[in-house]
Symmetry: none
Subunit: 145 residues, 2 copies
DNA sequence: GGATGATTCCCCACATTTCCCCACGCGCCT
DNA sequence: AGGCGCGTGGGGAAATGTGGGGAATCATCC
């Protein structure tokens, strides 16, 4: 089942953020309540359930490490990656470096994005939406054909 | 069986709206009385029965998430998406963010639209109709050839 | 090597929201 | 005229998000 929906939750003083119950239910039991959290695209945080992440690792496995660009990309993505598990209250704690990267302070926007979950600083996400040149209807036309 | 017909129903204080009985009957049992509700085009709400929605997810699955436009589109559609089920009275409850998006207050227009159901604010729908440059006959000529 | 301090992790408790169930009234069909 | 189906409204119980405290772990300094 895919991740969908959005929520604006608080980031407590310990860097913890709740994952919406509906997204927790969308996780495969194979993921074992565990995510790989890493740097996302466009200054947000990506959260892959463990089972999905392993298929990304397979993609990386197939890359040619003798290519300079590949090496750079692998460094950039793996450097931020961490395993995090849900606590008894359905929260994860976000590593400090990622909190800085995503510019998170006391409030976080949690987005379901099909195969992963995204965590944004709310203002950052507003800014991202505003810089998009095309509206929803136009994007749909060009992407879903 | 396709969704057809229209109805203007009330939205109660809890954000619940009844789905017309004739549309409920048009649902496949495979949908399990469950919809995926999401942002529609032109500021309305789309309601896909679960079985139909899964084929949309299949389309999304095939998209390349490393493409910027794709990411934006997936964020825009999945962010508003939610699973909702009919309660014992044949109603669904609409998530607050979608109520705002569609500008719904106390009354909603339910439209059958072949493979999905649409929910509009009545005034919003009037405005939409008035903006259309072409009349019914002209549209038919250009679309149905 | 041991003690101290900080950090992380896990558990418990509260308040709010959400969900599910029950009840009413109107209209249509029999 | 009665019954059944349908849309509308409200109340109670369970689930969900939020905050804090204490124990275990790790690193640091003496």
């Amino acid at each position: 089942m895919a991740f969908k929906g959005q929520a604006e939750y608080s980031v407590d003083s310990k860097g913890r953020v709740a994952i919406p119950a509906q997204m927790r239910k969308a996780m495969s039991p194979a993921a074992n309540e565990t995510f790989t959290i890493t740097r996302g695209f466009e200054d947000c945080i990506f959260l892959y359930p463990m089972d999905r992440w392993s298929s990304i690792e397979d993609e990386i496995e197939d890359l040619n490490m003798y290519d300079r660009e590949v090496r750079t990309f692998v460094r950039l993505i793996m450097r931020w990656a961490n395993e995090v598990s849900l606590d008894g209250q359905g929260r994860i704690s976000i590593p400090n470096p990622l909190l800085d990267l995503a510019d998170l302070d006391d409030s976080a926007l949690i987005l379901g994005a099909y195969d992963h979950i995204e965590i944004w600083d709310p203002e950052q996400f507003d800014g991202y939406l505003n810089e998009q040149p095309d509206d929803y209807e136009t994007l749909a036309e060009s992407v879903m054909r």
